[in-house]
């Protein structure tokens, strides 16, 4: 058998929508027999929380479909009202469910099941005063030098 292919991802975003790309690509790569590592840094650490509650923001996001209203129909000043983010997040979650798209919780669990390695950036943990016990089990805590060890020789490297 040929040597196993490897993929290394840096995941820097912590919104509901942006948690999808690293997890979809990681689980799919694992299904294609890749050895996969995700290095979670900055806002990406939100995805690693045991009680994650990721949100999607319509503020400054004119591409976000708001059906039945046309895109960018609602001005930003209204988008920034307190309830709008919660409403947009609820709408997005309902849409995700109705279209048979996996939830972030499901995808994350599938990634762990398929042995995707997860590294949490220790600098960001310190920066935001996160506690290791607030994050899921099975993480490695390390810094940039560790990422280079993983990424060198990887067939695919992505920054998300």
């Amino acid at each position: 058998m040929a040597t196993q292919k490897r993929m290394a991802i840096i995941a820097t975003k912590g919104t509901l929508d942006m948690a999808y790309p690293p997890l979809i690509l990681a689980t799919t790569a694992a299904a294609l027999d890749y050895d996969v590592t995700i290095f979670w840094t900055f806002y990406g650490l939100q995805v690693l929380k045991k009680n994650r509650s990721l949100k999607v923001s319509p503020v400054g996001n004119p591409a976000m479909p708001m059906d039945p209203l046309p895109e960018a129909f609602i001005p930003n000043i209204l988008m920034s009202l307190p309830f709008v983010e919660a409403a947009a997040t609820a709408m997005m979650k309902a849409k995700i469910k109705s279209k048979g798209v996996a939830s972030i919780d499901e995808l994350f669990d599938m990634a762990m099941e398929s042995d995707v390695k997860m590294i949490a950036c220790q600098m960001t943990v310190d920066l935001f005063n996160f506690k290791h016990e607030d994050l899921v089990d099975g993480l490695e805590f390390a810094g940039a030098a560790r990422f280079f060890e993983v990424a060198q020789g990887a067939d695919i490297t992505l920054f998300i």
């Binding site: 979809i24 689980t27 799919t28 299904a31 294609l32 027999d33 279209k99 048979g100 798209v101 996996a102 599938m110 398929s114």
Partner: protein, 74 residues
């Protein structure tokens, strides 16, 4: 005749592939997994999946909105 059937209808990317991979993991080489899916992207995806994993796509057909695949485990 398939040895195992996977109902992936109503599931969207990447779930049909992930479920298929999981099902194949529990099967023996040479056995055939049949998959039903409704995700229109699955046609190209299962082709690519098989090309990259070495499993053989023995059948791919479409009937209305349902896509049917048979994969022989390598």
């Amino acid at each position: 005749m398939a040895d195992k059937t996977l109902d992936a209808k109503g599931l969207n990317c990447p779930l049909p592939i992930l479920r298929a991979k999981k099902a194949l993991n529990a099967m023996d080489p040479g056995q055939i997994l049949a998959i039903e899916a409704t995700d229109p992207g699955s046609a190209k995806d299962f082709e690519s999946f098989c090309k990259q994993t070495g499993n053989e796509l023995v059948k791919a057909s479409e009937n209305g909105n349902v896509f049917y695949y048979e994969i022989r485990k390598v």
